[in-house]
Symmetry: C2
Subunit: 244 residues, 2 copies
């Protein structure tokens, strides 16, 4: 019972844009797994799109026709309940992949947090490349694996951690991720609002605010200008992460 990809049909590739081989974020993105030839094929199907802060990139429930790679900016992805309760499932930064879940419809909505640039891949074309370049599907699998591990950490956080532990975990994770992706990691620049943090951590803005105050008063962090957060005692913050 072999698994077959439904082959892409339709209009020819529309080329344009800068070569992927010179891409700023190539090393930290999915494209890093591809050779010169493969990159060229990818370039033929990619286009660049921009979104202003607050604009939706994809909508939960819409047919999943496009995959994105964040090039610059920041994105939040979230799910809603009918009465408006919201759970943010992740924040995406340059190099992160959006829409990896290869299902018929998007499982969540994604919205730009600030001016954002993304690479846009028609899904049918990507699937054709998957069949051609095993590297690519292996790389996507690795990516999905990492997301899965992060999702499990988040379940532990949402199911079992206190407000203070959640916020400490969040700040450290943001800082660590920024470091890994070569962005400034202390002070941390928060591109999201208190409300977004709350909806990510399963709390309310008020609780986020109170907990920030608590961490600040205990000297673990400092609330710097432009909403940046400086970590003053990384070890202490790490301890708070698991109830120390």
């Amino acid at each position: 019972m072999p698994l077959k990809l439904v082959q892409s049909r339709g209009s020819p590739a529309r080329a344009l844009g800068a070569p992927c081989s010179a891409c700023d974020i190539r090393d930290i993105s999915i494209c890093g797994s591809l050779s010169g030839d493969e990159l060229e094929r990818l370039r033929q199907i990619v286009s660049t799109v921009r979104f202003a802060a607050g604009q939706a990139v994809i909508h939960e429930g819409d047919p999943a026709e496009t995959l994105f790679n964040v090039v610059a900016g920041a994105v939040k992805s979230y799910k809603l309940l009918p009465d408006g309760r919201r759970q943010i499932t992740g924040f995406l930064f340059p190099g992160d992949f959006l829409g990896i879940a290869l299902n018929d419809t998007y499982a969540y909505t994604a919205e730009a947090l600030e001016a954002t640039r993304l690479c846009r891949f028609p899904r049918r074309r990507i699937e054709a490349l998957l069949a051609e370049f095993p590297n690519l599907s292996q790389r996507l699998l690795v990516e999905a694996s990492n997301e899965l591990v992060a999702a499990q950490d988040q379940m532990l956080l949402l199911g079992r951690k206190t407000a203070k532990e959640r916020l400490a975990s969040f700040l450290l994770a943001l800082s660590d991720r920024a470091a890994r992706q070569g962005r400034p990691h202390n002070p941390i620049e928060l591109s999201m609002s208190r409300g977004d943090i709350a909806d990510y951590l399963g709390l309310t803005t008020e609780t986020i605010s109170r907990t920030f105050t608590q961490l600040r008063r205990s000297g673990v962090i400092r609330l710097a200008e432009r909403g940046e957060i400086e970590i003053l005692q990384r070890q202490a913050l790490r301890a708070l992460t698991e109830g120390g």
Copy 2:
């Protein structure tokens, strides 16, 4: 266009004396994506292992040297905080894949809920096959995608749903999954304890118990013999899932 499984009609017709081609759960497992030849290669690296209820299959933090496929029984996977708080990240049933996260160490512990039989694949061998059979890595990617979607649903549940909504969601998800995998789906057989359900839903045993009572009193479910749960009003239960 979504990735689609294309079933070849008729039997693959590989006797071989090998169990894989005649495997009970082949159609619902990862192996369903493989042709006769590939299956034979898989058979060469697989072995069957059995675990009694309560035995650990893998340990969080151990080097990830093995992947498993559940053949019979049931497994829970969980993460612990240093002080013993526990979050169950999933329950696995026949056909489910354990250890898909291809990282160096296991991200969670997995433990048999009852007498359980699993197929055991050495990880290095699987990785070799991945390079050889693109089908396999694509199928694993689909599997990982589905897990990712489920994980996001679970985040919404843990972050934003009330106790009653959580339990309703859990019961329906169990029933739906059992149906999809061809197991009895009403009454639902709960292979896990109240404590396990609590640790999966981010609640306590007491709250689970009280909420069961509430659902029973309102006539939505019935607590049948041997701990089975009969769904009496599926529509009502579905409504409760999102606060209806």
